[in-house]
């Protein structure tokens, strides 16, 4: 565990010492600041559009930062030959794979939480009557439900957990650029079309090969849309149940395990 912890700390240092995080932070800050200053038709304190823009930006940047960090870990270790020095230490290949994944996730999560705090601050400032500890009821006049804020953040962290494991697992098979492209494309496709893939697979007008592919994608690829609670959060619907949160946590853990095992199996057989 100490070795995994050391690797994780290394990745957190890496993300905060490179420019990517700060570029994202400044862009988010500028856009949120500008968007929050807008008044439409002299009616102030509309806040949901700001939440929509803010959440979209921080979700997008967090995913990009996490995927690009996870995807470049193993290839850059090989290219820079730091891998040989590292694995010459008493570090098993599984610890290496796990450390790189957990580090990528923690680094992405740290970035996300910083963005999220800024977002909550800007939104709270803009909103009229933010409800503290508003547990359930929608539309009580408050713009923010803290329980939903927590649930949305928690589910997005699970989302990062799965995408980090996917990019990390792929990194033992693909180059950095191929991995980033494929991971991000899959992420966007599944988020956008994931729920509809089953109906594509059932349509007889579609060629059989596409039907099979749609079914395979539907049942075997992780459904990232499960972790997107923005609709509930922005529009102050009821929070999701604790049972659903537990199920989604288990779902995320299973997929992370699968991707990591795939990565470990490849690294275990690789001669460095």
């Amino acid at each position: 565990m100490s070795a995994i912890g050391a690797l994780s700390k290394l990745l957190i240092k890496e993300i905060f010492r490179k420019k990517d995080f700060y570029v994202a932070l400044i862009l988010i800050g500028v856009i949120l600041f500008y968007a929050s200053s807008l008044n439409f038709y002299h009616v102030g304190n509309a806040v949901r559009y700001l939440m929509e823009i803010g959440l979209m930006l921080i979700y997008l940047f967090s995913v990009i930062l996490t995927v690009s960090l996870a995807a470049r870990q193993y290839p850059s270790e090989i290219q820079n030959r730091t891998c040989q020095v590292l694995l010459a230490k008493p570090l098993s290949r599984f610890e290496f794979v796990a450390g790189k994944f957990i580090g990528s996730f923690l680094a992405g999560a740290a970035s996300f939480l910083i963005f999220y705090l800024i977002f909550l601050g800007v939104t709270w400032h803009k909103a009229e009557t933010p409800q503290l500890f508003d547990m359930a009821a929608p539309s009580h006049g408050g713009a923010l439900s803290w329980i939903l804020a927590f649930q949305a953040a928690y589910l997005f962290l699970l989302n990062l957990w799965v995408i980090a494991s996917m990019a990390s697992g792929f990194s033992y098979y693909l180059t950095t650029s191929a991995n980033v492209s494929i991971s991000l494309v899959l992420y966007v496709l599944i988020n956008t079309y994931g729920p509809g893939l089953n109906s594509v697979g059932a349509q007889h007008a579609v060629p059989v090969l596409f039907q099979i592919m749609a079914k395979i994608f539907y049942y075997f690829l992780p459904h990232f849309e499960f972790f997107d609670l923005r609709q509930r959060f922005i529009h102050a619907w009821e929070p999701v149940s604790g049972g659903l949160l537990l199920f989604l946590t288990a779902y995320a853990l299973v997929y992370a395990f699968i991707f990591l095992i795939l990565g470990w199996m490849k690294l275990e057989k690789t001669s460095l």
Partner: protein, 242 residues
């Protein structure tokens, strides 16, 4: 003296070409062992196999009595690579802390050891500067420090003096000699035959994946009228017919 490193009938292949072809040797505890050979002979492959980075096709390797594929075998081993490539955004202190944590060293022990090592290699003044600002020589010093972070019993070095100026080479020689006096086992590959002649107790000469000569320095040069390692090496490598 028991053997720290034992290799028997080792075969390693890359794309159907044998990089190591039935190689056998042993290194006793406390000795400095030089591993010589021309470019492409298999020296780096040997070192990587010794560290568990490459899976052998045939034969076996033992490092402190354990297979090098077992991480436990590397607990008391230090490795100095040929090129000092490290995480460029880290400072020497951070780099040594990182590797120290991999070795699960207690915090207080690690802190003291980092100070000692930085002083030993002469990097105390630049301890907090990122490595990407270092010259090649300074990076090599940081590399040596990380190889010693766990106070290893066995030190494996791949071309340790490559690219160093004469002063740096002299410093390194002194450090290696001091380590030998502490009872450490040193195994290194090198092209610098003068260094090997000065430091080593035993050597092995490898060509095309096979050991063509091995033994103590005295044994290897016995019978050679020049008693000069460089000339002996050239004669042996050229005339071996491999």
């Amino acid at each position: 003296m028991d053997s720290v490193i034992e290799i028997k009938d080792l075969v390693v292949s890359y794309r159907k070409k044998r990089a190591l072809d039935g190689l056998s040797l042993s290194v006793k505890r406390g000795e400095i062992f030089g591993f010589l050979g021309p470019n492409g002979a298999g020296k780096s492959t040997m070192i990587k196999t010794l560290l568990g980075l490459i899976h052998p096709d045939e034969g076996w390797v033992r490092l402190g009595g354990l297979s090098p594929l077992d991480p436990q075998a590397r607990v008391r081993v230090g490795f100095l690579p040929e090129e000092a490539n490290y995480y460029r955004f880290l400072s020497p202190v951070e780099l040594l802390s990182f590797y120290g944590e991999i070795f699960r060293l207690p915090v207080s022990v690690l802190k003291n050891r980092i100070e000692k090592l930085l002083s030993l290699v002469g990097l105390t003044e630049v301890r907090n500067k990122p490595i990407h600002t270092f010259s090649k020589g300074m990076a090599q010093k940081a590399s040596l420090a990380q190889a010693l972070i766990n106070n290893p019993e066995t030190l494996i070095l791949d071309e340790p003096t490559a690219g160093l100026d004469p002063l740096a080479r002299m410093d390194l020689r002194k450090i290696l000699t001091d380590l030998k006096e502490e009872g450490k086992t040193l195994f290194f590959s090198s092209h610098e035959l003068s260094e090997v002649e000065l430091l080593c107790d035993s050597i092995a000469i490898i060509k095309s994946g096979k050991i063509i000569k091995s033994g103590s320095l005295h044994e290897v040069l016995e019978g050679d009228k020049d008693q000069n390692l460089e000339r002996f090496f050239l004669k042996t490598v050229k005339g071996s017919g491999l």
